[in-house]
């Protein structure tokens, strides 16, 4: 029983992280899957969301910190919304020079902005505490829930060990519920939007920009909306991450975890399909966790294990591109909601 609880607790931890990745995938799916915008600077938007949220809702600088601003300790939802807004704003600024050009330019510009954001995080210690990172970020409702758990355990000293373990993991259960709720909400909203005429324009842009433009659509503006909306979702994921991990620094948002893994997730799951995006996130995060057991089994540690795991994810991507380029699910043929209604 205790072993089972151990696994269950691990599963909760796993699901929270995978859920946050799924949110990132939803954001990328709007940009890439439906509009064909090639954003390989996801890490930048993700990081901006995390730092914004930490600065708004996190603790003020401690005595040992270099940081001098932020830490307003506002309620978490304020940080969450702030994260989305600031990420969206940065996407807007990046979009201005690049969205009128070919897709490759957006790619290099997004990778560039992600690097610049990483440089800022590393160097501007007054804002980000540079390499020491922001510590002790408060989690939403952490105090009352953890106090409640302690009280419950104290009142029932007779709980068997497995129950004690289960109960003491209570906050993670709460956080998982929150992540799932936000994921479902974002899923619902983006499904609704993609199946609307708005989404139809995005898909047309993905197929042929000039023809969409001569049909009277302002393609720049639609691409901008898609880029900004996707980036806002990525910012929200950043906020979810920061308040769960309670610690962020530049290393958290390095290109592999911040960008590449998410691309692999979306492509494996099936870009142009929101369910695919979520499925891909859980699958690849499972694979990633699985490789840890593998490298551990082979007695590899440190950078060797890490490198091998990254290589294996890279190889998976290449195989998917070669063998099943549309991913596990792929896009549905008929997308707009009006057709579904008529069929029924």
């Amino acid at each position: 029983m205790e072993a089972f609880i151990g696994i269950l607790n691990y599963a909760v931890f796993f699901a929270i992280t995978a859920g946050i990745f799924a949110v990132l995938c939803l954001g990328l799916n709007i940009q890439w899957g439906y509009t064909g915008l090639f954003n390989i600077g996801i890490a930048g938007f993700y990081a901006v969301g995390a730092y914004t949220s930490a600065l708004i809702s996190g603790p003020p600088p401690g005595p040992m910190d270099w940081r001098v601003v932020g830490g307003f300790q506002l309620p978490w939802p304020v940080g969450f919304v702030g994260a989305a807004l600031v990420s969206g704003l940065i996407a807007f600024i990046i979009g201005i020079p690049t969205l009128k050009l070919k897709e490759d330019y957006l790619a290099i510009a997004t990778i560039g902005i992600a690097e610049v954001i990483r440089l800022i995080i590393k160097n501007e210690s007054w804002l980000t505490n540079s390499v020491w990172g922001i510590k002790h970020i408060t989690s939403p409702l952490a105090l009352p829930i953890e106090r409640g758990i302690r009280a419950l355990l104290r009142a029932n000293p007779g709980f068997p060990l497995w129950l004690q373990r289960l109960v003491s993991n209570g906050y993670n259960w709460f956080y998982l519920g929150m992540v799932v709720l936000i994921l479902l909400l974002l899923y619902g909203v983006s499904e609704k939007m993609i199946r609307s005429p708005w989404g139809r324009v995005l898909r047309a842009i993905r197929e042929d920009e000039i023809a969409t433009s001569t049909a009277g659509k302002n393609i720049f503006w639609f691409k901008m909306q898609s880029l900004v909306f996707g980036a806002m979702i990525m910012g929200m994921a950043g906020s979810l991450y920061a308040h769960y991990a309670r610690f962020i620094d530049a290393e958290t948002f390095e290109p592999f975890f911040g960008t590449f893994l998410i691309w692999v997730m979306l492509i494996v799951g099936g870009s142009g399909n929101n369910l695919g995006a979520i499925l891909g996130a859980f699958t690849i995060w499972g694979v990633w966790a699985g490789t840890e057991f593998l490298t551990h089994g082979w007695g590899l540690t440190g950078y060797r294990a890490a490198s091998l795991r990254v290589i294996s994810v890279g190889v998976i991507l290449e195989f998917i591109l070669l063998l099943r380029p549309r991913g596990i699910l792929g896009e549905e043929k008929v997308v707009s909601f009006i057709f579904k209604k008529e069929r029924r």
Binding site: G36, F38, I40, I96, P97, T98, K100, L101, E103, D104, Y105, A107, I108, A109, I111, G112, I113, E115, V116, L119, K122, N123, P255, F256, F260, W263, V264, I267, Y303, R304, A306, S307, L308, V310, I311, V313, G314, V315, L317, E318, L321, L322, P325
Partner: protein, 306 residues
Amino acid sequence: MDFTSRIFQLALYGIVSGSIITLGAIGLSLTYGILKFANFAHGDVMATGAFLALIFLNLFQRLALPSSPFHPLSFGLPLVLAFILCMVATGGVAIGIDSALYKRLRGTRSITLLIASVGVAFILRNVLQFIWGPDPRYYIKKIQVSVRLPILGLRIKHDQVFIIIVAACLVIFLHFFLTRTRMGKAMRATSDNMDLAKVSGIDTEKVIKWTWVIGSALAAAGAVLAGIDNKFITPSFGWDMLLPIFAAVILGGIGSPYGAMLGGMVIGLSSEISTAFIATSYKPAVAFIIMVVMLLIKPRGLLGEK
């Protein structure tokens, strides 16, 4: 040192790093012109070249070759041989990756190739890290003293003069290759219109192979020269080069090797000179900002067409 001579000193370093960026940017531009995709693994191909040179260098040092440095340079025959061999070997690696992966994806959308190249970038970087670890590896342990030039009190190392000369020679070689040889002209023709090249009887697969070999060999050369300048190499070198080489290519006009040369110099010079005004740690951001400004005012680049 007064401000003017400081700027000139930085410009001199800028020419050195511009030479290195140029060599990387040419290969990126060539493959873009012919295969029509932005190869995000090109920086890591450079890094691979640097480490292949390290293998050869260690081999030759063990082989009891005469290893005394060529005066006044800080390195000798083993590194020169390793330099040449690694260009060939990196070309081979590029052909290997092409036939294992890119070749099978040809005919799909160029963006699929781009995604695949991002995957290749991560694989290459981590293979290097798996073998050599994340810490710096050294070509040369000796520190070289720079000499003073008779103008403005500028200083430069002999190795750096060597870097500039070698890069210039390679660029001139490339120019003659593209305009005077059959394969060079075929490369330009294939870059213009691959289908037409095919029906003209040009073996485009062979042209593609040559493009990979030349682009990657130049990239490897650039990486080794960077290794000589810095004395050390790391697996993350490729990532560090990515923004400068892309900025150079976009600045010069995508697909134009001559634009890449120009762009490389501009990026090298401006990143170095910028350190007189802003913190050195923001050097990579300068390349990025120049690129964004270029996209705003002249998206086709300085020498881009149409």
